[in-house]
Symmetry: C2
Subunit: 305 residues, 2 copies
């Protein structure tokens, strides 16, 4: 099948956006932007970030779209459009490619986000690079750098499900399918980031490498200490159930597991934390991230390194 | 070397832009945009689009940047920023990666374009995906779709050099190094596209697949015929010299060779064509592209298919 033929099948399945002034088919797309542009890029590489035996094309499309939407949301901005570059072996099934488009659409359509352009190419393995575009809506971008002592730390959703899903896939068990689904198709609540920005969040990011490591990134950027209390960390019930069945500690997944993509943010006071967010600790003078007052022991989530 | 260590070496070599409000290091970058955003994505894949034995890292960085800048210029827009995704094998030399950054900078810096963000990942081969961002400056984007009968067709630079360079590399000869250099580092005049837009260009694109095929794309999008006169087509002197030495027809390279990345545009009348552009034909009622009144014979540039 020629590239033109493939594009003719692929393009109609892609999500569209009201922000599109001119879509694909020319040298470049044109997108209307209100205010500053927020832009982020994330790749997904076969055998590095996904496995063909675990993920459908739609799962890969969903995940790479959602990771990028979460990055825009994590700035307190509103995603509008994606550019999608897809390199793949010549023998990649057309059905896989169309399923990939479906996953992009399923992730993007509820948020009014469209794929406005991209590129297709050959490669030895599937490599996807997505660039997400967004715009701020009345707030400054929320970086990682402005958390201050006295702030509270909160997360926008329960943690550990993606790690529990990965553990099941790696062990070939299926005790909590909901966790597997959340590993294959992360479900951060897109819009939580804008909500946090409107509530005065001082620092924010989405959790792609786990609360312990990502929280330490906020601590470093803001030159503060993030003091997390383990008893406050919301553990996803599918992670708890999986951990119980496997005889492991679900908290290790909640603190150390990546890929949940929920927002973690700091707020200047408890009363600023939006409904539905869970406070997990406080910001203090100092550096790094502590759990119950101590440096987190590596053992709990070392296997996610 | 860790990803953080690599980024610490890589990032300072990248070009910067005045449009950057917030650079890399957070979930997303923030770029100021004046008016509509013009966005384009192009990939370069090892062994598909470049070979390690022919191209340095800087050559690859230059080429993928320049392809993307040309796409933005081809809309009559001004490029401002790039997002760069780079996937590579673990054993890729750090020097290659830093050289790649140097090539990005060398291509971008003269145009005030910066790399504002991106992603690094592992892969079986080097895969680069670049998304270029730009903005219109007082003109509407120039698409491929508005050429009209009576327009003249013009190109912004001499053609065939990249094809002549590729031919030399494939044959292991080096009769015209300037052509090899232009294949490895295409030199479209960035800004020619904006110039054409300001002169009222009706349709435009950059020549990545050769005048014959790219011109046919304008013909299809505009529902007209592009009638090219071969005697008018400017052949790059390094292509002429290479062709003479090899005993082949330089015109085939000028019409059929890709990768020159010069602009081709249609203008409503001869007097609208900017200085330095060369008129190569006229737009007529009909469809497709003709050379000297006939469909171009495939034989001349079949080997570029």
């Amino acid at each position: 099948m020629s590239e033109d033929d493939l594009i003719a099948l692929f393009a109609p399945r892609l999500p569209v956006t009201d922000a599109e002034v001119l879509g694909s088919g020319d040298d470049a797309a044109v997108v209307s932007v209100d205010g500053d542009l927020v832009v982020s890029t994330d790749m997904a590489v076969q055998d590095h970030d996904f496995r063909m035996e675990w993920s459908t094309g739609a799962d890969v499309g969903w995940r790479v779209a959602m990771q990028n939407l979460a990055d825009i949301d994590a700035m307190g901005a509103v995603p509008t459009a994606l550019e999608v570059a897809l390199a793949m072996p010549r023998d990649t099934e057309v059905e896989w490619v169309l399923s990939f488009a479906d996953g992009l659409r399923e992730a993007c359509e509820p948020h009014g986000v469209g794929v406005v352009g991209g590129d297709l190419s050959g490669a030895a393995q599937i490599v996807v690079a997505v660039t997400a575009l967004g715009e701020t809506h009345g707030t400054d971008p929320v970086t990682r750098a402005d958390a201050a002592p006295g702030d509270v730390i909160a997360v926008a959703g329960p943690l550990g499900a993606a790690a529990a899903g990965l553990a099941q896939l790696e062990q070939g068990t299926r005790v909590a399918p909901a966790a597997i689904d959340l590993f294959l198709r992360p479900q951060p609540r897109i819009g939580a980031g804008l909500e946090a920005a409107l509530h005065g969040a001082t620092a924010m990011m989405d959790l792609s490498d786990g609360l312990a490591r990502d929280g330490a990134r906020i601590a470093r950027a803001s030159e503060v200490r993030l003091a997390v209390e383990s008893a406050l960390v919301p553990v996803h019930e599918a992670a708890s159930f999986t951990a119980q069945t496997m005889g492991v500690d679900a908290l290790a997944w909640a603190l150390g597991g990546g890929e949940d993509h929920h927002m973690v943010a700091c707020f200047p006071r408890e009363s600023a934390v939006p409904a539905g967010w869970v406070i997990v600790g406080v910001v203090e003078d100092g550096s790094g991230l502590t759990v119950d007052g101590a440096a987190p022991t590596v053992s709990g989530w070392d296997h996610f390194a």
